[in-house]
Subunit: 211 residues, 2 copies
């Protein structure tokens, strides 16, 4: 009987999982200044994907990552790199599971975002192709973000209480060729989300809209 | 118009996500010796959950974790603890997303598995309750596992090539009160999976079987 146990039914492939779930996995990587609107966009995007398309998305953000998986990390350069690397690896696991990972982090450095993209290009174990990586630049001038400042972080950065704050005392390296570019000054959130979904549709990443 | 951007639609709650997906999130934590059958069980469990119940599960195992998220970790005690901590955090994210995380690691130390369980008891951000943690002990005597030895690891451990090998030169601390106890000597895999699914049903964790 013991031979029964070593019999390996083949594991579900990504394609099989994808067909059964009627959904393709991918990562949507939002990048932009603090208070640019990333989280608000992520929340509305998740809602529309599930409500209107019946596809499952999950947001990875400071709340569920910084106080969980990455709570051992500080803000040194090495730790910031490791922060982004782990987020990218987790997003890739969600994408491999045929969910849509929506990451919402400032991720100011081009090198780090490129690392995240490259990780997605490496096929998961047992697969032949990588996973789609959709970089979305939420572009808001620092003056606008600073005026919003819902958490008072810009104020603290100006006062020197927070060091190396992106846009004030640390650089933000804008993406050169993001898949989606949101120039969202004066842009209602719904339009921003519409633009992301239009891109996903243009690539055939989503099932048809439910009637 | 800028006020539109700071408008926050409420984020999907776990309950709302769960209703829309007709699925509840949880973690199934398999533990047992190398070659006890954990991976085979995980593969078959994932398949049956998706095929027969239409619920989504995703396996976290050595293949997609050790060469990805945890590739920076070695085998020191600190690194082994950190390995399990990260796996538990990622499983919790999947469970919070309303998927079923199936983890398949030897996880020989009671302390580490308890850490994983306790992390699941902490409600995710914005939630009031923790996430179900189902510990499954795949119990096979070391003699049986050693006889199977599909990867030749026990042989290498006996030869001293692999140090601190669970069951040979390092302890396996059996769970005291696992939610599911699989005494799977001579047990065909399908029966093991049936036992796990029966437990999930007994707790009301799964939607009804599809006709």
């Amino acid at each position: 009987m013991a031979t029964n146990i070593t019999f390996h039914a083949p594991a579900l492939t990504k394609t099989e999982r994808s067909t059964l779930r009627n959904q393709q996995g991918l990562t949507i990587w939002l990048t932009g200044l603090s208070a640019s609107g990333k989280s608000t966009i992520a929340v509305e995007l998740e809602r529309q994907l599930l409500h209107d398309r019946g596809v499952h998305a999950y947001r990875l953000d400071g709340d569920n990552i910084r106080f969980g998986l990455n709570k051992d990390l500080g803000f040194s350069e090495a730790d910031r790199n490791e922060n982004i690397r782990r987020i990218a690896e987790v997003a890739k696991l969600f994408a491999d599971s045929c969910s849509i990972a929506i990451t919402s982090f400032i991720s100011p450095y081009r090198k780090d975002r490129d690392t995240a993209r490259k990780l997605h290009e490496i096929p998961p174990p047992g697969e032949n192709t990588g996973l789609p990586f959709v970089e979305v630049h939420v572009d808001v001038p620092v003056e606008v973000a600073e005026q919003r400042d819902p958490k008072g972080l810009y104020k603290k950065a100006r006062e020197g209480i927070i060091k190396e704050f992106t846009g004030i005392s640390a650089p933000y390296e804008a993406p050169e060729k993001p898949e989606v570019y949101l120039k969202n000054v004066d842009l209602p959130i719904k339009d921003a989300v519409k633009q992301i979904i239009a891109y996903l549709d243009s690539q055939g990443y989503l099932p048809a809209k439910k009637e």
